[in-house]
């Protein structure tokens, strides 16, 4: 086994993995809360896509609603598409949640937790930035206000998602690609429960 062979094998392996992911990504089609079919990861010319994994009943997640709405509005102008992803709710419940908490972003229903599996998200609320080619550029908390269940700072000190988005839009690498979100856990219907994120 020489180095050349090893190098070529790695390239093939990488390509295989990439095509695997590409395939998975393109095949993700979900209904939004109004019943329309959406391909959340397709490239439609957006600079980036932000997925917000949400649930209707998590007090920590709900606390973030005004900040999510501000991010949606502010970054829309800069070519960023924001989507909410609900794994555990029916369309009517999602619609009510969006109304109650004045959430102004398109909401997807993902009962098979395809997007959570694709991105590695485990918590609600958790945010994930995808580049226009579907690359995962950031995954984690919106900001650092939640410390643990029951402990929330009066105001955030580090706004991780905004910092990551600003870096992406400026064409810079994201300094911290993964952060630990605090909130309610996404319940994966089958298999073992995912480990807590670091």
């Amino acid at each position: 086994m020489n180095h050349k062979f090893f190098g070529a094998a790695s390239v093939i392996l990488l390509l295989a993995i990439a095509s695997l992911f590409g395939g998975e990504r393109d095949s993700i089609r979900l209904k939004d809360s109004s019943g329309k079919l959406v391909e959340p990861l397709a490239n439609k010319g957006q600079k980036a896509t932000v997925l917000f994994f949400l649930t209707t009943e998590c007090p920590i997640g709900n606390l973030y609603s005004p900040e999510i709405t501000r991010i949606v509005e502010q970054y829309k102008k800069q070519g960023v598409t924001c989507l909410a992803v609900y794994a555990h709710e029916k369309a009517a419940e999602v619609q009510k949640h969006q109304r109650d908490y004045k959430l102004s972003l398109r909401a997807l229903l993902d009962p098979e937790v395809k997007l959570a599996k694709f991105t590695g998200a485990t918590v609600m609320p958790e945010a994930c930035i995808l580049g226009h080619d579907g690359e995962i550029l950031y995954r984690g908390r919106i900001d650092d206000r939640a410390v643990k269940f029951g402990t929330v700072r009066p105001a955030p000190r580090v706004r991780d998602l905004r910092m990551a988005l600003d870096a992406v839009l400026a064409g810079n690498p994201v300094a911290k690609k993964v952060t630990k979100p605090i909130g309610c856990y996404i319940s994966f219907p089958e298999g073992p429960l995912p480990k807590s994120p670091k």
């Binding site: 009943e57 007090p59 606390l63 908490y101 004045k102 643990k148 029951g150 700072r153 856990y185 319940s187």
Partner: protein, 505 residues
Amino acid sequence: MKLVKKSAALLCLFLSPLQGAGEEKSVTFSKDIAPIIFENCTTCHRPGQIGPFALTDYKTVKRRAKQIVEVTEDRTMPPWHADPGDVKFSNNRSLSPEQIKLLSDWVTAGRPEGDPAETPPLPEFHEKWQIGEPDQIATMTERFTVRAEGSDIYRNFVIPMNLEEDRWVEAIEFLPGAPEIVHHILYFLDTSGKARKYDAEDKKPGFSMSKSNAGFSYIGGWDVGTQPTELPHGLRFLIPKGADLVVQIHYHPNGREMTDQSSVGFHYSDKPTARPWSIIQVPPHFGQMQGIEIKAGDKEHIEEASFILPEDCEAFAVNAHAHYLAKRMELTATLPNGKAIRLLRTTRWDFRWQEDYSFEKPVKLPAGTRLDMLISYDNSASNPNNPTSPPKNVKWGPQTTDEMGSITLAAMFETKEQKEATHNALRFFLANQFIDRIWERRADVGNGNGNGNGNRKGQLQIAVGMLKALDKDNDSMLSPEERKTAIALIQGMGFLKRFGAIGFE
């Protein structure tokens, strides 16, 4: 081939402990988990109650399983903050280590349901009032709107009781209008009409915390998850005719603008209280005269206070109060025979949960017992509860960015005279602290550095002048004799009279 063997061996190694555990115990929802959840969680975690989500069946519990394990293991849930100690509490809500382990084992085993027929039925919960329909329901006269986000909101609401005669109360129950945002409350009675005046002056419903509640009689509180207040041992308290109820509500914004209109239910009794009782707060008045001053960045600032009981009493409950910076709180009673009893210790003080801890059996505290209170505050940036970033110097004050701190015993006496003597000793204690604080600031008055508004500055000037006059030998110290005279004078002064133990029976 080798590789396959290895991974197979690894797989076996990985699976075998799990399988072993599963076969031995076979923890299931229906047999093991449902009884724990239904008995300890569902009373709050069901539709329409204060728990943010329901835990009422296999589906809802399975979905929250990982979170349930995490919050029970770190003892965030069920909420209970007293460390195990010398006295047992009758309202202890904490789970046993065995129960916590069962929950964790169940998740490790893959959250199996077991035989649904084995699942016990939900306990019979009351839908509205937990201890039955009250004799009188006092509801906020207006709805109050709470914004979607931002810092916590405190607001006082006046509710006329319209009682035409004095009534003895044996139980109070609070019914939050918007359980999502109501966090904790304190009840007061006002017979002066002052609260109504404040309410009328304030354009919004209720009145703000900038108005002093001095002169109101404190009659208890409620926080998320506490049971209704049912007085033990045949004790009652009196609501005088014509009194107004003042409810001070602490709201947590929850991401959505909401309105609240809460109610308080009173259960009256034809019988008067079986014994005189009161509260003994160390230091009195939430530490207002303790001279609390916590430097920015100080990781462990200690405040201590000691009070000697002048009369016999029997303590039946304890409650601690401070704001966000407090970490550790302790109250120890040292009896005249030297025996020390730790009445309360919490190393996990959390402003969000303000529980009353009821003693399983009343604790006899003979005259001469010393109560030692200790609070440790963390005003560093590494305290995630610190409401100010970066930290600032913190003094006593009513806002949650200020601090305060005391531990309160509820105690019963044999005679009214014992109760009165205990109150007087607490007033004496407070007057002494008051003199210390004035004496500390005597230099400020001379050089005009005294802060505060004109009225308070004037009061301070008068008080300092008075103390200086008492310092007969002019040695800038008050001798015990001089101090006695000062206390006698101060206790007669209007602006101290409102301090001290708040009594009702």
